[in-house]
Symmetry: C2
Subunit: 539 residues, 2 copies
């Protein structure tokens, strides 16, 4: 039997932390959690008390529907901190009237046709991992719609075609990360796109939100892997030609990449795949300070070496994630290839590290053909990687302990980084010292590095007085958004705009472009049924 | 004194081939040119007899104008074969009423404002090297406009700012290739974007047409180098934020990249620059057949080695360009870096070549820190590179000898290559054998290679009966366009759509997308003054 997805929190029910684990976590956190703090209990599915569907569906669509309270609750929100708090509190406000599971492109067209006709909003749902309100209904738009449908794409999960010659594969867009990799594996291929949400995010979701992969450099964004797309809009369907490259006017694929469910529905995609990794060399390198680490990271990013991985953790981040416990910033640097030995590049990267005072604290054998499976000599960075994937489950446990937990990210050019970093750390810490009784962590890691800039990722854990979890979270979000925009960052490097970043996005873009976007939305979606209020608000 | 640009042919007047050189070329070409063939004489500037400007300009714009016959003739066409034939024949039909040289963004705005008001078409002109009709007026649209202005951007050629830290530079968009490199050189930087038209193409033109650089793999398209843009449209101006990357909805830069002067005018751009190359290793490798070369090229493109250069010439192409005279396909493979020795990658690439039966026929020392200047041990590929840059001057000489000369290019996935290649070669050769008295060359080189496909570039030289140069050229163009689209290529990999590829583009794209493009054009350019008929026809 398939594992059951949690309707209030991250991932699978079976993987949520047990009470004993949460208690152990509380002990580890010391002052953050007062001993008397109760652990919040998630609602039982039988306690769900959702309003009745306000709309009716024709039989042809009803056969695609699941109107159970559990599925409607699960599809009510994404999985941001705010979403989990609301789920824990059994607050499922304005849930979808129906969850529909299209199985074919025709089903998608039928759903859009009917909804356009009946003023029903349609929000496309892939893995449901949005942390920016991307899959929830914009409640302020309520009066404009008869109701809303969460269109869950996960039944459209087929491998349509594998072209081994050109190393590309066509998938239906609802396929989730693990299943996609599973289907490529028998032919020794991989997409090698591993966002933190990998388990609970879909190919179509990656494309719609321009997902960033785990790897720090080189091809890692889903944008890099898209060869062609099939997209259904309320006014018609478009298919782009399979091509390795083209210079024929603007690139249509780029219109759909990042369209965030507001212009059309990606129904299938040809993506670039590659053979699975055969050669690996990696090290954890310690720096006396984050600043020295940054300076080294820049040199590596500008060296043309393009390591697969090159993540920098500040000392606290390294400590919390069990990577290094000695007050050092840690750079996780690694090279991978399916074709050739990578020792020459690895050697050069370590030279650069040394020139910045970096000390290798852990290193994998550079023997050729290390397979991932037999990678028993795991670096500390390896343990970080596990905690990376498991992090959202821990986040949910922290929520249950009454803490505030948030991660936010941006990207900025190198010349603007220091100011941005200083101001964000400062503003968030200053705010929290009023709200948190002094128990707060604000950490930073650099998830992606480019020759002309970098992507810092901030994590915040704090206690909060008076149990005002959501209010504090809202404030943090606001401060982060404003500070990022003020100091020349982008409102998001890979979390998407959704609804949480809409105000920041508005400040980031020109009025002319925002109006173009509205014009484009009106063209593809004249009744404005697709994810109203996502990215921009029309009404 | 600045060198004078030819008003009928490629480049500088001083660089056009002398009569003695053309005669020598004719001798080399043997049967292609009958001894009695006259060499066509270009028109003198005094013989230009252009119709008078049909429009009037206010004084504020007149001060930016050049209405000399010579400049109006030079800006009448791009530099395709057809353009040169027309220029040679002193056929400057519907020349621009005025050539305007804006110096500031305000000048550009003023020109668009006035033109919108007076129904004057505005065609943006950078270096003028278009081979797809991109800078000429669509004569079938004539009745809709009072006249037309060629807006020459080359006075907007400043380096605005160099950010050494982030390795990016802001330039006004009218700067031409050599001048841009010249301004980066004192700081040891380069953009490293070298299209064949380098000398006579502008930054803004590269962006508007999504130019492809000389390098075969890795970052080589101008798309890869754009950090942010400033764009003026008839309804307003937009500036994108300087960012190394962003996941905030669709990428606005990609809307302007490839907009081909039909949506707005790029007035300045931040571009990613890099230090000049210090390490070089390169070789020319011979294969018994083009097919074996292709098979090797695929393995290298899929190896993750990303050589700087990896061009494959078929035997005739290698012969004509003086690279190799022994009926072999030649692969020019090279690695470059500003940071590190490249011998390890070079060695692996040669291993791959060997495994396909490739034999190294010429090789540069792999000593570190080979500078380009002191590259005296030049490979035959080096001589090819020179002929690459000089090729358009030779093309003009061939035109004067009455031959038909055309190059066209596409990109296609690996699985579709053989069929595309076979059919194009076949169709063009079959057509020419009727028209050319049996003297024809149809050659192919692969200019760019990707993990999932490649970009073949075809060159055609043929004599033609009855002096029907343009008719034969038109037929070739038509056959090429149709065959490319039929066999799953793109209508253009880096020459742009312009007007010559418009029909093919229409077949490549979905109706829905074409209608979106029209809708977008109407939004940014409600009076449709910007390069009417380029890419798509509205009216």
């Amino acid at each position: 039997m398939a594992a059951v997805r949690s309707f209030w929190g991250w991932g699978y029910q079976k993987d949520e932390l047990k009470i004993s684990e949460i208690k152990a976590l509380a002990t580890l956190l010391g002052d953050f959690v007062k001993p008397e703090t109760p652990i919040k209990t998630p609602p039982k599915k039988d306690s769900l008390n959702l309003q009745e569907p306000k709309i009716k569906l024709p039989t042809s669509l009803l056969k695609l529907a699941d109107a159970s309270n559990q599925q409607r609750a699960r599809h009510c929100y994404g999985r941001s901190f705010k979403d989990v708090v609301r789920g824990l509190n059994n607050e499922f406000i304005d849930p979808p009237d129906f969850v529909l599971y299209p199985k074919t492109v025709k089903d998608v067209i039928d759903i859009l046709d009917y909804s356009s006709h009946k003023d029903i909003a349609v929000i496309c749902y892939g893995g449901g991992s949005s942390v920016v309100g991307g899959v929830e209904f914009d409640h302020e738009m309520k009066q404009n719609y008869a109701g809303w449908i969460s269109m869950d794409m996960t039944c459209m999960d087929k491998l349509n075609y594998l072209d081994k010659d050109s190393r590309s594969a066509s998938f239906q867009a609802g396929i989730l990360g693990p299943s996609l990799e599973e289907k490529l594996k028998p032919n020794n291929f991989t997409l090698r796109h591993f966002p933190q949400s990998f388990e609970f995010s879909s190919l179509g979701g990656w494309i719609a939100t321009r997902a960033g992969g785990h790897f720090a450099m080189g091809p890692t964004h889903i944008d890099d892997f898209v060869e062609s797309l099939e997209v259904v809009t309320p006014v018609g369907t478009t298919v782009t030609r399979r091509l390795p490259a083209s210079g024929a006017a603007s690139d249509e694929n780029r219109l759909w990449l990042g369209s965030e469910g507001m212009l059309g529905i990606v129904t299938s995609a040809w993506i670039r795949v590659q053979p699975r990794t055969r050669f690996v060399a990696k090290a954890d390198v310690a720096f006396d300070s984050f600043k020295e680490g940054i300076s080294c990271l820049k040199d590596i990013a500008q060296s043309g070496l393009y390591p697969s991985n090159c993540r920098l953790l500040d000392p606290l981040e390294a400590l919390i994630n069990g990577v290094y416990a000695g007050n050092k910033a840690i750079l996780l640097v690694g090279f991978e290839s399916y074709d050739h030995d990578v020792s020459s590049s690895f050697k050069r990267a370590k030279e650069i590290c040394n020139s910045h005072g970096g000390v290798v604290v852990s290193e994998s054998d550079i023997d050729n053909e290390i397979s991932r499976k037999s990678d028993s000599k795991q670096t500390a960075g390896g343990s970080w990687k596990n905690s990376f994937i498991k992090a959202p489950y821990f986040r949910d446990a922290l929520v249950r302990l009454g803490l505030v937990v948030e991660t936010f990210e941006t990207a900025v050019t190198w010349d603007n980084f220091n100011e941005l970093y200083f101001n964000i750390s400062n503003e968030i810490n200053r705010y929290l010292s009023e709200k948190s009784n002094g128990t707060q962590w604000v950490t930073c890691r650099i998830t992606h590095a480019y020759p002309n800039g970098l992507a810092p990722y901030f994590s915040v854990i704090a206690s909060c007085k008076n149990n005002s979890q959501t209010a504090v979270w809202n404030d943090i979000k606001q401060i982060a958004n404003e500070t990022i925009i003020k100091f020349n960052g982008t409102i998001t490097h890979h979390h998407a705009v959704g609804k949480e970043h809409r105000d920041g996005y508005k400040k980031e873009k020109s009025e002319l472009y925002l109006d173009y976007l509205k014009n484009t939305k009106k063209y593809f979606d004249p009744k404005s049924i697709l994810n109203p209020g996502n990215v921009i608000r029309l009404l």
